[in-house]
Subunit: 325 residues, 2 copies
């Protein structure tokens, strides 16, 4: 059990470096970074003891490497690396919500076809272990509803607009400066980013990939100063709420700015924080909240996946399919 597993790491940006620094502190984990694949091999790098390459195959086809951790931006390349790695029998961890959210049909196939484990906790809810929780519920009890704040940038912008009367533009620039929003913020603001995360949760809660037609998303740009004033007068807040419900037997996913009252568990979730509340038939409503955006929560979620992977855990959703087949 105590042999060191060898990690091939794709990407050495903020999240990749955060993971590298974080892993150094987890001296009890029997895993070590063997190779790092980066796009720009010519750039100066921290982590001089690491082996850097710009050739993906050096990681993907190396039989010595047991685990691929994919932390790059490019969703198309990420998908190709993950698929190759799984086909090669390697276990994989990814944080790529866009790639995973868009490729759930294939991922469902991969979970069933390959014996290698594929985990992606960091793709949803930052430091909140929600994919793991929902995946467990799917196996053990009926999920009735999932509702939460899944996009840290939208929540940060709306919080600043309401608490400090900032304009949308001012809040967006600040969110970008703090690393909570992408340089191209369209996915965050429009609700598409939260929709990716909803579809991942829906898949793990219900075992099926929701169809695109089941989604509706509304941009937070529709939130005007007048709406904010009205909300304040009533003692309420406007929050970017993402919801999965079953309506007439069908999964319905909605992302839109909504009025929230003080007795709502999402009322106190401000700034870049995320929160998710899962209602189950047997054990009622569970809510979890924590930092949703930023490199530390994401890096910490990757470490948690690595721990699960090393302890032999894989998602239940795939296991039940394998049992059925």
């Amino acid at each position: 059990m105590n042999e060191q597993k060898k990690i091939g790491l794709f990407g050495f940006g903020t999240v990749g470096q955060g993971f590298y620094e974080n892993l150094k502190k987890h001296t009890h984990l029997s895993a070590v970074i063997a190779k790092v694949c980066v796009r720009r091999i010519d750039l100066p790098r921290i982590g001089h003891e690491l082996y850097f390459t710009d050739n993906p195959d050096e990681l993907l086809l190396d039989p010595e490497i047991d685990i691929i951790i994919e932390l790059i931006d490019d969703a198309v390349a990420a998908k190709q690396y993950v698929h190759t790695a799984l086909r090669e029998g390697k276990s994989v961890i990814s944080a790529n919500k866009k790639m995973i959210g868009e490729s759930l049909k294939e991922i469902d196939e991969w979970h069933t076809r390959y014996d290698a484990t594929f985990l992606y906790e960091a793709a949803v809810g930052g430091g909140i272990p929600i994919v793991h929780a929902v995946d467990g519920f799917f196996r053990d009890q009926e999920v009735l509803k999932i509702r939460g704040i899944l996009n840290g940038s939208s929540n940060y912008i709306l919080t600043q607009m309401q608490q400090n009367q900032w304009s949308f533009e001012q809040a967006l620039i600040d969110a970008q400066a703090k690393g909570f929003a992408e340089q191209n913020p369209t996915l965050d603001i429009s609700g598409v980013d939260a929709s990716y995360k909803l579809s991942i949760l829906a898949y793990h809660a219900f075992g099926e990939v929701p169809s695109l037609s089941s989604f509706s998303a509304e941009s937070i740009e529709n939130v005007t100063k007048e709406l904010i004033k009205k909300a304040k007068t009533k003692g309420k807040k406007i929050k970017p709420i993402a919801t999965i419900e079953i309506v007439d037997g069908k999964i319905v996913c909605t992302v839109k700015p909504q009025l929230v009252s003080p007795n709502d568990e999402l009322f106190s979730v401000d700034f870049e924080n995320n929160a998710i509340s899962v209602e189950t038939l047997i054990s009622g409503k569970h809510t979890a909240a924590g930092k949703g955006a930023g490199s530390l929560p994401t890096g910490s979620a990757v470490i948690e996946d690595l721990k699960r992977l090393l302890s032999g855990y894989s998602y239940q959703v795939s296991k039940s399919k394998k049992t059925v087949a």
Copy 2:
């Protein structure tokens, strides 16, 4: 890996029966109830296929039994059963917060001395997996503060007094009728029950058993109609708040009714719900909320412990001590 582990179950009251019913639904778990020890063997029992006895040794000294699950009221007997089982090399799950909260010094010794695993998620926070979470944080990052609502009955009573203007007595009788408060409610109301839970969390967060002198508890009976009226005027609520802080390098544990404002993550936690918020140095504040009292959340926490046990998990707090020794 697929051999069936044999469970010896102590207690067949609400929680014990809840566990039995719940386990039947988890057909994929490789564990089966072999024997049940009850105080009154003469009472009619559901679960006719089960083997009942009133002799504890039939479970504790049976080499065929791998796992003891202790779900009885009597804290003194519970402690003896748990200790004997661990000494006999059996793994143990308990939900007995009084026994565990009062015996942490011995439990710390047991964790270090015996190789058998001892888990007790159900003793704190009902269905919220907080012992597991805090125990993981202890190993991996510095915990700064723990704050929450850890007693479902107190919260239920205070909620009814505030939302529906009930008297303390009326709310207490209702809580008892609904199974959220014990027939002798002193431990719940006085804050002693929450103190047991705090000390369990403090032990797992910091690796040491807090001294009795570090505790202060104030009863919710001190909450008058005048205080409630004042809180309401300010848009606040009075909640039974339990806190662990490090003051001058010492663990300080407090349980008392406190004013909470709408922006506080505990404001929306009403009725029998519990919530716990853990602040860590690295990954910020994590909050989890869910049903805190009742047989279903407790039964579900016992099942979660059983899953962890079967997957080879044991508390980190003991492992780090073993490494040091």
